[in-house]
Amino acid sequence: MVGNPKISWEVQENIGFVRLVDEPENRMDTRFFRELLELTKNIIPAADVAAILVTGKGRHFSSGADLEDLRKTIRGGHYSHDFLMANYRSFRFFDDVNIPVVVAIKGVCLGSGLELALHGDFRLCSADALFGLPEATFDLIPGAGGIQKFVQFAGKAKAMELIMQGKSFSAEEALRLHIVDAIFPKKELEEKAIQLAKRAAGDYRKYNKKDYLKELTHREI
C-alpha cells in the first residue's frame, strides 16, 4: 500500500491507543475502513491490552466519511452490502470488546466519526467539540449503527429530530442528550481520557459507569 496510514495503533503500558491520523479532518475513506477492519479483526484481539482509547490526531476527531471515495466503492453493486457490513462490524467491535473503550473527542465529530464514537463505552469531549449526523442533508442516512446508538442514548424523539434535520450540535447539547458523558478543557482531555482508561482497565465492571465518571469529574453525574 502506498501513502500514509489512516490509523495508528500503539500500546503504552496496558492501554491500546487507536488514533485517526489523516489530518486535518481525519476523514474516513475506503482505505481507512480497510485499516480499521484489519485492526479490529486481527491486531487488537491479539494485543495484550486492558483498555482502549480512541482519539483523533490534531484538531479534530473526524469529519466522517469521505463521500466521494465511498460512493465509488458502494456503487459497485453486490460488493457494497459486504463493504458496509464490514465497516459496521469494525465499529461494533468497540461495543462488543470485553475491555473498556474510552473515546476522546475534540473539534468536529460528524457522520461516521460520531457513529464510531457512539460505539465506545465512555465518551469524553472538549468544550469546543461539535457533533452531528448530517447524512440526511446529502439525502443519505447514517448507515453504520449511528441511528440505533443515537436512539439508545438520546431517545427516539431527539434521534428523529437531529438525524432528519442533520443539524450539528455543541458539546453542551451532546451532554444533555447523553451522547457524551463529560466535558473537559481541551488541554486536559487526553490526560483525563488516559486516567479513565487506566482506572476502568483495572477493575472493569465492578462499578457502574456513573461511578467512574463521578470519580473522574469529582461531581454527581
Partner: protein
C-alpha cells in the same frame, strides 16, 4: 349514547393534520379512531409528517363509559371493532413518516393509547394523562399497556394502569411518556415547528429510510437492524447519486 366522533384530515403543505373532534372532551364513539382506508389514502397523498391532535381544549377523554356499556352487548361486533382499532394504532406506530401527538388538556384511555402510538408526544403544562379503564373493571385494549411499558418500564406502567389515577405534564415528562412540555395552547404550534424541522428540504425517501431504521431498532435485533441499514444506505446512494 354519546354522539359520533368526527375525524378531520387537513394538509398544511407537506404536513398532515388529523384532528379528533367531538367537543368538548372529544370522546371516541368507536374503538376505531378512523377507517383504515381513509387514513391510508390520506398518507398516500404524500405527506411527510403527521400530527394528531384534538379539536378545542382537549386531546381526547377516550371512550365514554356509557358507549362501551351499550357496545359490549354485541360482543362479536365489539371484538371486531377492537381488532380494527388495534390495526389502526399499529399502522400509526409503524408508519414510515414522523407521527407527532400534540396534546392539550385531557388525554385519557383510548385517547392516551392513540398518543402512545405516535413517535413523539408534545403536551402542555396543563395536560393530564390517565388510564381510567380500571375503574370500570376493564383495561386499555388498544396496545396502550405495551406501549406505555416500553416508555416507562414495568413498574410505572403497572401503577398507572392498575391505579387509574391522573398524572400531570411534569410527571409525564419525568416518566418519559412525553418528550416535550410547552406553555398552554402551544403544543400544536410546537408540533408544527418540529415537523417542519424534520421534513423541510428532505425527500420522502430519506424520511422513510430514517423512520424504517428507527422502527427497526425496536422490531429487530441489532444485527438484523444493521443489515437493513446497510441495504437502505446502499439504495439511497444509488438513488441520490444516480442523476450525476
Amino acid at each position: 349514547m354519546g354522539k359520533e366522533h368526527e375525524i378531520i384530515l387537513e394538509r398544511e403543505g407537506d404536513i398532515g393534520l388529523l384532528i379528533i373532534k367531538n367537543l368538548p372532551q372529544n370522546y371516541l364513539k368507536r374503538p376505531e379512531l378512523i377507517e383504515m382506508r381513509q387514513l391510508q389514502e390520506f398518507v398516500a397523498t404524500g405527506i411527510k409528517a403527521l400530527i394528531i391532535t384534538g379539536a378545542g381544549r382537549h386531546f381526547s377523554a377516550g371512550a365514554d363509559p356509557e358507549t362501551i356499556k351499550s357496545q359490549v352487548k354485541d360482543k362479536k361486533c365489539f371484538t371486531e371493532q377492537l381488532i380494527r382499532g388495534n390495526y389502526i394504532l399499529n399502522y400509526l406506530d409503524e408508519l414510515k413518516i414522523p407521527v407527532i401527538a400534540a396534546v392539550s388538556g385531557v388525554c385519557f384511555g383510548a385517547g392516551f393509547e392513540i398518543a402512545l402510538s405516535c413517535d413523539i408526544r408534545i403536551c402542555e403544562l396543563t395536560s393530564l394523562f390517565a388510564f381510567p379503564e380500571i375503574n370500570q373493571g376493564i383495561f386499555p385494549g388498544l396496545g396502550g399497556i405495551t406501549r406505555l411499558s416500553e416508555l416507562t418500564g414495568k413498574a410505572v406502567a403497572m401503577e398507572l394502569v392498575m391505579h387509574g389515577d391522573m398524572i400531570n405534564a411534569a410527571k409525564a415528562k419525568k416518566f418519559g411518556i412525553v418528550d416535550e412540555v410547552t406553555a398552554k395552547k402551544q403544543a400544536l404550534d410546537q408540533a408544527r415547528i418540529l415537523a417542519k424541522k424534520m421534513t423541510d428540504n428532505r425527500p420522502l425517501r430519506v424520511i422513510k429510510a430514517v423512520m424504517t431504521s428507527i422502527n427497526n431498532c425496536k422490531a429487530l435485533g441489532m444485527e438484523e437492524a444493521l443489515k437493513k441499514d446497510a441495504e437502505l444506505f446502499a439504495r439511497l446512494v444509488e438513488e441520490s447519486f444516480s442523476s450525476e
